[in-house]
């Protein structure tokens, strides 16, 4: 069973590595992201939003929905942590802390 898991992990990793071969190189000026989107942002952000920080402008303005649901995801993480872990019972003391009753 362990061997089977190892094989599955290796196959998945190999598949992911094979998938990265089609990605454009880092900083490739001919990649689709650099030819259309980046140019538009760099040329228009200052007149459209008047924010000198491109990252924030893209994050909070052009991609506002994305950031909103990112915040919602962070909130859900806190909520899930609270719902799973919160324990309102009093702390066990004395002998029952060392030998818990089954």
């Amino acid at each position: 069973m362990k061997f089977l898991g190892f094989v599955i992990v290796c196959l998945t990793g190999g598949l992911l590595l094979y998938g990265t071969m089609d990605l454009p190189d880092w900083g490739d000026p001919a990649s689709p992201a650099s030819t259309h989107l980046s140019d538009y942002y760099i040329e228009h952000i200052m007149e459209e939003t008047r924010v000198p920080n491109l990252v924030t402008a893209v994050l909070a303005d052009y991609r506002g929905y994305d950031t909103m649901f990112e915040t919602a995801v962070v909130f859900c993480a806190g909520l899930a942590c609270f719902l799973l872990l919160r324990d309102f019972r009093p702390k066990k003391t004395g002998i029952s802390a060392i030998f818990p009753r089954v």
Binding site: E48, T49, R50, V51, P52, N53, V55, T56, A57, L59, A60, D61, G64, Y65, T67, M68, E70, T71, A72, V74, F75, A77, G78, L79, C81, F82, L85, R86, D87, R89, K91
Partner: protein, 171 residues
């Protein structure tokens, strides 16, 4: 029942008696002092990062994480009770929800003012003295909401994990 040699002595139940469990180690004086001096500066830096999110590197997520880690530093250097006395669970829950609501509220406000959802330029009548920078101001408001939510959630996750959900003892 405690047996004391001198019966005239009154035993004052102080802070130290609350923590008589096996794992608890009192914090060092150096650690306490350094953290007490450091925490306000970390918090001011966090507010700086949030406030300058649209003009320099930074923003809501980063500032919120820095602010939350300053509160976690308080829990580590003193103890968890010191933190939970200052920042209660109700406070944290309300702030986590408020942060998300600020974000969504700005979007809905833009809708009410006649634009599309999260279209900050429609909020211009609210700031008549500087309508040109309304998109920057809208982003700042949104980042403040994100910062509040991230700060509260950081502390919620830390407190729940470290004390196994009991909020009394822990790191």
């Amino acid at each position: 029942m405690l047996h004391v040699k001198n019966p005239g002595t009154r035993i004052i139940p102080g802070n130290e008696f609350e923590h008589m469990d096996r794992e608890w180690v009192p914090s060092d004086r150096i650690i306490k002092t350094v953290c007490r001096i450091l925490i306000p500066f970390i918090q001011i830096y966090a507010l700086y990062v949030v406030a300058h999110g649209d003009f320099s590197p930074g923003g809501g997520f980063q500032g919120g994480v820095i602010f939350g880690s300053s509160l976690i530093l308080m829990a580590i250097s003193y103890n968890l009770k010191t933190l939970m006395k200052r920042v209660t669970e109700k406070f944290l829950s309300i702030f986590a929800a408020t942060g998300v609501l600020i974000y969504v509220g700005l979007g809905v406000l833009a809708m009410i003012m006649g634009g599309r959802f999260l279209d900050y330029s429609m909020l211009a009548p609210l700031v008549p003295w500087d309508p040109g920078h309304i998109r920057a101001l809208g982003m700042l408001g949104v980042e403040i909401g994100v910062g509040i939510a991230v700060m509260a959630v950081m502390v919620i996750i830390y407190v729940n994990i470290v004390s196994e959900g009991r909020h009394d003892e822990g790191l």
